[in-house]
């Protein structure tokens, strides 16, 4: 079970994998995620969006960036290896209907979770405009896939190495001012990017959906570790989300909560454990 069927490196730090998971592939809908764990004894449970699924083959696709221990260990796995634990599909599916003109904004690795949503929006008959951003050309992912579904595709890089030299909020603002006005915006990326996308659309009253990537443990509503403040309410991202109204999310609080365990990733002790673990896995 859970064996890796296909692996591809998309950029320096980003990998794509197709993993055998027939039950999840059958049930999943756009917007949902899985939690996976490598090493049943001591491994961490981490959430990853289901970027695509093939119910016929019985597989799901994940696209992930190597940021810490688990994502690094996952990147070292090869076709034929298995992921010890994989559970899903979790979270509420995206609400997809014919809205009209939908602007999808993706930043960095956020393009991966955006892809299935953009795909579903297109399939529902929407006009889909896609804005993708990355630090540089090297880090851009899924350009071909997005091009295939977008009615219009705009690419921004921070350093201007490809596409426009701009932040994604710049073209987003232009679309908000243009006619016809977008009926919906979907923004997925680093929290700071989602925060500013929401600020950009707010004055125009364009409903803006964001997908939050809080820290999670169980992913089923049991721990409350993933909680965020939305409006005046506390919500659990794993069961109430991951998608929320970007105009109501308290992003500052969310960004703080993401840093709760940052001390650990930063300590030498942890780094050295991480390197050991990666080296050991590499030898196998």
């Amino acid at each position: 079970m859970n064996s890796i069927l296909y692996k591809k490196q998309l950029s320096a730090e980003v990998f794509q994998m197709r993993i055998e998971a027939p039950l999840i592939a059958r049930e999943r809908r756009a917007g949902q995620f899985v939690i996976l764990q490598i090493d049943s004894q001591f491994g961490e449970r981490i959430p990853l969006t289901i970027a695509d699924a093939d119910p016929d083959e019985g597989s799901i696709t994940v696209i992930f960036q190597t940021v810490g221990r688990t994502t690094h260990l996952l990147a070292l796995k090869e076709v034929g290896d298995t992921v010890e634990h994989l559970v899903g599909p979790l979270g509420q599916p995206t609400h997809v209907e014919k809205f009209g003109r939908v602007i999808c904004v993706g930043g960095g690795i956020g393009v991966a979770p955006l892809y299935p949503i953009a795909q579903a929006m297109k399939a529902a008959g929407n006009e889909v405009i896609i804005i993708m951003g990355a630090r540089n050309q090297e880090l851009l992912i899924l350009e071909e896939e997005m091009k295939n579904i977008a009615d219009e595709l705009i690419i921004c890089t921070d350093d201007g190495s490809y596409g426009r030299k701009d932040l994604v909020t710049a073209p987003l603002k232009e679309f908000c001012e243009a006619t016809p006005k977008p009926d919906l915006a979907v923004a997925i990326g680093p929290p700071i990017m989602m925060k500013f996308c929401a600020e950009t659309t707010r004055p125009y009253g364009i409903h803006t959906m964001v997908s939050l990537n809080t820290i999670m443990v169980d992913g089923t509503g049991m721990c409350g570790g993933c909680r965020v403040t939305v409006g005046s309410e506390t919500k659990f991202v794993c069961v109430d989300g991951p998608e929320f109204d970007g105009h109501l999310v308290d992003f500052d609080n969310m960004m703080n909560r993401l840093k709760a365990f940052k001390w650990r990733e930063d300590t030498d002790h942890h780094r050295c454990h991480l390197e050991e673990a990666i080296e050991e896995a590499g030898k196998r």
Binding site: E44, T70, D218, G225, N256
Partner: protein, 496 residues
């Protein structure tokens, strides 16, 4: 801390040996009442707050036999009525006194499936030991016959001597039963239904089976090896355990019946949804539900440096609540390196729902109790991390509808408490996932599933029990509910 008073298992055993040797049989009731109640040997509090090993070490054979002699064999057997599953208590105690531990465990096993667990975690002082005649005669429930400890003793004796035998399984019936969750209710149903020859599959959302016994109750109170053994015993009976399987997400409940050929289902999903206080500052960095804190520590092995899942580095911890969950969180925080752990409870110690033994252990280990206090808000530093709490004093007012005196805040009594971590342990509710994904499943206003006398829900062929029906309750009640539902399922399948 009474570390000077601390007596080792060897010392307690030696005392018991001498006492046993001095008994002249037959014993009169008066003589029995004069036998000293046997203290549970435990790790030294100073040592144990620095390790995860089990605190209570279990009676020695000598202590168990001596404690068993304290039972008066009352004709009315009031203790049995106090046990939710009706174990034949005087009968098994008599076997212990005789030294026939095998017979003793045999008697317990007729009524209970998880004696090693219940002997450790049952709130005995409010169940079997509450009506015990010995306790009444000596005017203290603490002096009642230690039924739980004796139960634990024979269960451990059985396991340590490799005598645990999975129940025999009848020939295959071709019927299939699905069980959702793998806590004590589900473990019980799995064993009882499998015995009858039905095929059984257990679906568990987590990566390891065991429910709260695994992710909630800490290692130092219930070693995980005991839970694993119970699960392995199920597997050796041929029960299939599917982990990483969330009913309602990976598969809908109704699909199991309609598409996957299951003949009956049992829902034992527990009460896993943490309650918060809804006070200011509850989403600051450093505020955790007890569920999260304990899951990181237990299931994810946060206490082990090899674990990838981090636990928050705390200096001063406040735990809010007065139940077993609060005690477990407080004692875990000490073991994870906190310098100070404060426990705040709105009422007094008398009203605390935690087991008496857990409260005593927490105090011995140095948890600082603040009774009649509760936070008004949690304070933030400039980075959005917990920097303290504003706390209010309470007093007990008029009794409320449940008969408990209601805590009333004392106006103007606010003061600040310096803490960097807050663990909220004020209770759990049922997780709504199965209910939300199963149309027609009737629930109460608290979100618990409604079942009839047979344990059946509002839907045909779907049964439920444990915390999902009772609200956060106890292991033994979950097991009792499991037995009832299993009997109904077996009856249903026999008729079909």
């Amino acid at each position: 801390m009474n570390d000077i008073m601390h007596r080792t298992k060897e010392q307690l055993t030696e005392d018991a040996r001498l006492e046993l040797a001095g008994l002249t049989k037959p014993l009169s009731p008066k003589q029995r009442l004069a036998i000293p109640a046997q203290e549970m040997p435990a790790q030294d509090p100073v040592v144990r707050r620095g390790n995860m090993q089990e605190v209570a070490l279990g009676y020695s054979e000598e202590q168990a036999r001596l404690e068993a002699e304290r039972c008066l064999h009352c004709p009315a057997k009031p203790c049995i009525k106090g046990c939710p599953v009706g174990i034949e208590i005087p009968a098994f105690i008599q076997e212990i006194a005789k030294g026939d531990f095998k017979a003793a465990i045999g008697i317990i096993r007729q009524s209970s499936l998880l004696p090693a667990v219940c002997g450790r975690v049952c709130p005995q002082e409010t169940q079997c030991q509450a009506p015990c005649t010995v306790g009444k005669a000596l005017k203290s429930v603490d002096k009642a016959v230690s039924i739980g400890r004796l139960e634990r003793f024979v269960a451990d004796w059985e396991r340590e001597n490799g005598l645990m035998q999975p129940p025999a399984v009848k020939p295959a019936t071709g019927k299939k039963v699905g069980i959702v969750g793998s806590g004590p209710a589900s473990i019980t149903v799995a064993a009882d239904v499998r015995r009858e020859g039905h095929e059984v599959t257990v679906f568990e959302a987590f990566h390891r089976p065991g429910g709260v016994l695994l992710y909630g109750i800490p290692e130092f109170r219930l070693p995980k090896a005991i839970v694993d053994q119970e699960v392995n015993s199920l597997k050796s009976m041929g029960v299939e355990v599917k982990t990483d399987f969330v009913i309602g997400r990976t598969r809908k409940l109704t699909d199991l019946l309609e598409k996957d050929g299951y003949d009956a289902l049992f829902i034992g999903t527990g009460a896993g949804l943490p309650k918060f206080m809804n006070i200011e500052g509850e989403n600051l960095v450093g505020v955790f539900s007890a569920n999260e804190y304990l899951t990181r520590a237990n299931l994810m092995k946060g206490y082990d440096p090899r674990a990838a899942t981090p636990v928050f580095p705390s200096r001063k911890v406040a735990v809010l609540g007065g139940g077993n969950v609060a005690m477990d969180a407080a004692r875990s925080a000490l073991r994870l390196g906190a310098e100070e752990v404060h426990l705040l409870y709105r009422r007094t110690e008398v009203e605390m729902p935690a087991r008496v033994e857990e409260v005593a252990h927490a105090k011995e280990e140095g948890v600082i109790f603040h009774l009649l206090q509760s936070p008004k808000r949690i304070l933030s530093d400039e980075r959005g991390w917990v920097s303290g709490m504003e706390v209010l004093h309470y007093e007990l007012g008029e009794p409320d509808s449940s008969g408990r005196r209601r805590p009333v805040e004392i106006k103007g009594s606010e003061f600040e408490m310096d803490v960097d971590t807050v663990i909220v342990a004020i209770g759990n509710e049922p997780n709504p996932l199965v209910r939300q994904t199963t149309p027609g499943l009737e629930t109460s206003k608290w979100g618990t599933l409604i079942v009839d006398d047979s344990g059946k829900t509002s839907l045909d062929r779907i049964f439920a029990g444990g915390d999902i029906v009772l609200g956060a309750a106890t292991v033994i009640l979950a097991m009792g509910e499991g037995r009832r539902a299993a009997a109904s399922i077996n009856k249903l399948l026999a008729e079909k």
